[in-house]
């Protein structure tokens, strides 16, 4: 069993080396004939029966793909050598080294056919440009238009910030503690209160705010929800001390819809 594992490990390393070799030949523009294709095919064939997992088979496919790219490079190489553009780089290097700058520049002039291109402004484009210029507002007017309104800096009182809800009246934890105390006071002998009876308030906004705070009471272990699905009733029960369920049991989320209609229905029921 361990021999098989060792062979697999060896085969994986071999294939990885094949992939790297083929890639480096392509990236660095090396002579593709330095790679012995027959030898690589022998390696790929030898280890192929060992592959079982998808990862191993993918590696095998990648090696075959890289090998195919290398064979294509060899084919291009042969094609290039058979064309009139083929020059032995070493021979060429020697020739260039022997030639002076003037000789090289003269050779360039024989094979260079520079492009002809012109840039000219036409009467039409001049007319367009004049129209554009006439309609263009001066910079100080344009900047005046786009500049953001300037607001003078001043001071704000704490009350103003509270009014704009930038500052909270109490720290959130303190608000939550106070809300928990209120819940404990409102619960009856059975230690629980109907959910809507607790969160319901005179205004819809306040009801939403109380539901929001209640969700934190439950999440942070100050209270729990008791849901009676058949009766379609939901109670909220405060704990005497905050309880932490972190890592003890899986928490669940209970979505509660608090629409304006539901709030209105609750309010009518309360009034009646």
């Amino acid at each position: 069993m361990s021999t098989k594992r060792q062979k697999k490990k060896l085969g994986t390393e071999h294939l990885q080396r094949v992939i790297d070799l083929c890639k480096s030949v392509e990236d660095k523009g090396l002579d593709p004939f330095v790679v012995d294709v027959d030898d690589i095919i022998r390696v790929v064939r030898e280890y192929f029966p060992e592959w079982e997992s998808p990862e191993e088979l993918c590696l095998d496919a990648e090696a075959v793909h890289e090998l195919a790219s290398l064979i294509k490079l060899q084919s291009d190489w042969v094609k290039h050598r058979s064309t009139s553009l083929y020059t032995d780089p070493f021979l060429l290097e020697e020739k260039i080294k022997k030639m002076s700058k003037v000789e090289l520049a003269n050779l360039f002039l024989k094979i260079w056919h520079p492009l002809i291109e012109l840039e000219q402004i036409s009467p039409n484009s001049l007319l367009e440009a004049i129209k554009y210029w006439q309609n263009l507002l001066p910079l100080n007017e344009r900047w005046l238009k786009n500049a953001p309104p300037e607001i003078e800096t001043g001071t704000a009182t704490r009350e103003e910030l509270l009014e704009q809800r930038i500052l909270a009246e109490k720290a959130f934890s303190m608000q939550l503690e106070a809300f928990w105390e209120e819940l404990k006071q409102k619960t009856g002998k059975d230690g629980k209160i109907q959910y809507w009876d607790f969160i319901g308030a005179d205004t819809y906004e306040e009801t939403i705010n109380r539901a929001y705070m209640t969700s934190f009471l439950v999440t942070y272990g100050y209270a729990t929800l008791e849901v009676h699905r058949l009766e379609e009733e939901m109670f909220i029960k405060p704990y005497e001390k905050p309880v932490s369920f972190l890592g003890k049991k899986q928490s669940i989320s209970i979505p509660v819809s608090i629409s304006v209609d539901e709030w209105a229905r609750w309010k009518r029921g309360e009034q009646s």
Binding site: G29, L92, I96, M99, L115, I116, E119
Partner: protein, 190 residues
Amino acid sequence: MKKKATYARKLKRATHLLFYRRHKKPGVKGWELRKRLGSDYPKVLGILDSYLENLDLQVKTVFEEEPTVEKPTLEQLDRARFYIVLRGGLTPKESKMMGWRIDDIAGLITTISYIVSKKGRAPREEIEKLLRDKLPGWRVDINMNRYIKSGYLAEDENKQLYLDWRTRAEIDQKLLVELLLGTESQKITS
């Protein structure tokens, strides 16, 4: 008579399109010419080319994705780019109008011929080493960037240099190899 007038109009339009730069790169794509001149644009270009011959200019077709084709199809022509180039060569005196020093021109021809011999791709390091043989090191780097900026060469993320659009348009690579290998340097200067 009407046909003659049509071709005269098309010739003018082709001249405007080919002589004046309209994009970032000079030249016009075949499909663009077809759109502006009609499907017989190869014929219009043929007539324009024979006009330009007297002025030592020519319409050059460059096949960007494939090597030069002897009898191109319409699809191949649509993909090709057309330029107006000088038909003949320049004299050494005229070469001054290019605005390049003789060092720069010699460096460029060395680079291009080396890349051609390496099947169209060569490492920048190798070429710089070759140029440093005759040019000061600081100049080699400046020149190389200049060749790239002018569109003669392109460089990839692996520092490999390729021949770019301008070399394909302006340089007769076949003649370059023939002159380099088939002719002694004495003959080249003559």
